[in-house]
Amino acid sequence: MTKQIVFALALLVTLVAFGFTITRIIRFFSLTRKGFPVKNIGKRIGIMLKVAFGQTKIFRRPIIGFLHAMVFWGFCLIIFGSIEMVIDGLFGLEKSLSVLGWFHDFIMAAGDIFAPIIAIAIVVFLIRRVFLHIKRFEGIEMKKISHLDANIALTLILLLMISLMGMNTAYVSWCHSLGKEIHGVYPVSQHLTGLFSSMPVEVIYTYYEVFWWSHILLIFLFANILPYSKHFHVFMSIPNVFLSRLEPLGKLPSMESITREVKLMLDPNAAFAAPPSDTPIERFGVKDAEDVVWKSYFDSLSCTECGRCTSVCPANLTGKRLSPRKVMMDLRARMKEKGPLMLKNGRDYSDGKSLIRDYISEEELWACTTCNACAQECPININHPTLIVDMRRYLVMEEGSAPGEIKAMFNNIENNGAPWQYSPEDRLNWANNLEINIQ
């Protein structure tokens, strides 16, 4: 009974803390802009099955992608075991889901096989991060804390897998010692029981209990660390894939506020016909964290800083300051800084800083070629170019700030209908003296 009470308390603390964090994050979303309606649920489920559960985009880098897929699929299966542990803990049961018969055998076996596979993958990941200095994990945005964040999360996962293996092995050994029926199948752990063979049954049971508690408490801890870490990815990535942009990558979202203005300009009569706008005057484009469409903030929370985007960015590859990963990290950090202050002091609150300039420089924004390599590469369909263009929209339409040649290009389009300074009269010159050979 004591065990049940302790467990219930631990679970309660976990859920309350988690609930508090999530509520806070949801309130940050309330600061962002509307837009990006979520339609086409069927298609979205399809993309989620393919890209998230099928891990198709992570396989664009086949070897390391395979290791990630193993970790992901392993997690998906191990989670059933964790659910069983929660039920067992709350109701003082043992292997409660064994009532499910073969399915229980399957999930126990899957967890038992995947735990060591995940552990190996995590060790490879840690070696890559700590010793190999892979270029993808470096960059101006990758501070000491970013590396620490990654290593802590990886270490936690490793400990989770070790405790799971320990728990399974101790369980099988304990059953053996008592001649008890084993619930579930443990294809790997059953070969490790030698570790406990010389121990008295009570000691084995104590080991089982210690591993059991370590594993579940680590899960509780992990769940509460994640939202403050880049590994929030674990929760956010599947929903983020579900919320993918369904349009072709080349399409930029239209600004309806501009459409209204342009229509008024083109047809002044429409001014009388247009219903009075009750929407507050919005800033054009994105200057600060609250100006983004909620989906961009969702993207930023889902980003796990893998750097695949930056590693294929033509600007970044050629030494420019732009890094798509940094854009996502900066948005997340800026919201973390300004969000609480806005919630406390109201929407109009200003701390004298902004996402543009204090986090992301104009130089970075103007280096983007909108080639969409970043968005193509992102394993969870984050879209960086739309956010970058949204920030350019602010610079151009609110501040009139752009490189001189860009302003000249705007002038040319306005005056001659072409980005270069040529006369419309010369538009058909290419067709002069055009002849075709007769075969």
Binding site: P248, K251, L317, T370, M409, P419, L428, E435
Partner: protein, 264 residues
Amino acid sequence: METKKIEVPVMAELFARGEKPEYLFWVGCAGAYDDRYKKVTRAFTKILVHLNISFAVLGKEETCTGDPARRAGNEMLFQMQAFQNIELFKSYDIKKIITICPHCFNTFKNEYPDLGGSYEVISYTQLLEQYITEGKLKLDAGKFKNTRITYHDPCYLGRANGIYEEPRRIIKTLTGEFVEMERNRSFSLCCGAGGAQMFKEAEKGNKEVFIERTEDALKVNPEIIATACPFCMTMITDGIKYKNQEEKIRNLDIAELIAESLNL
């Protein structure tokens, strides 16, 4: 060889005569003004005439789609251009548009519908590939048969719109020596000119993007680097010059490859 003069049909003139072409051939600003790309426009026009396709251009009425303005953040200017074009298209009852510029293609196809302009938008690579597949465009595989050709994917055909195979199928009908660069299709590297970069100096870095991309191409030792975008052509041609390879390597558009192989 005998030649015939081509009078390029202009929409306003056809309309005045009460005629309506099937397609609008949208030339684009680069196609109209860029000296190098004008040759591509001419080559593609010859192919259209060769195929007896019913088309017309807008001529002096054509204007920028607004793409570079939009990508540089000037949504206001983009939409002004867009509404202007949509009105113009409406006045000529235009339903089908062929583009040679992938940026114009993307803007018409994906972005004008939001503003009320929905058309059947066709990239010239799709049109040509279709004519080849249907056997209506017979290519003489002789001329480039043993020429080593590689293809650089323009971002706005490839990643932006998923057109990867059509250009390749066209080139493969022309040559048996097609060779892929290491970064190809969705992995392709940008030439460096998209997103209005064409009109400005690059930000400070340690290399120009077009040089990085040209090096990709040089690694596979091509005689021809085929492109399908005016901006890519400017960049790759510059890259070839930068590497002093202009004697050995030609940068040709897919339309030029076809026109040349047909000896039009």
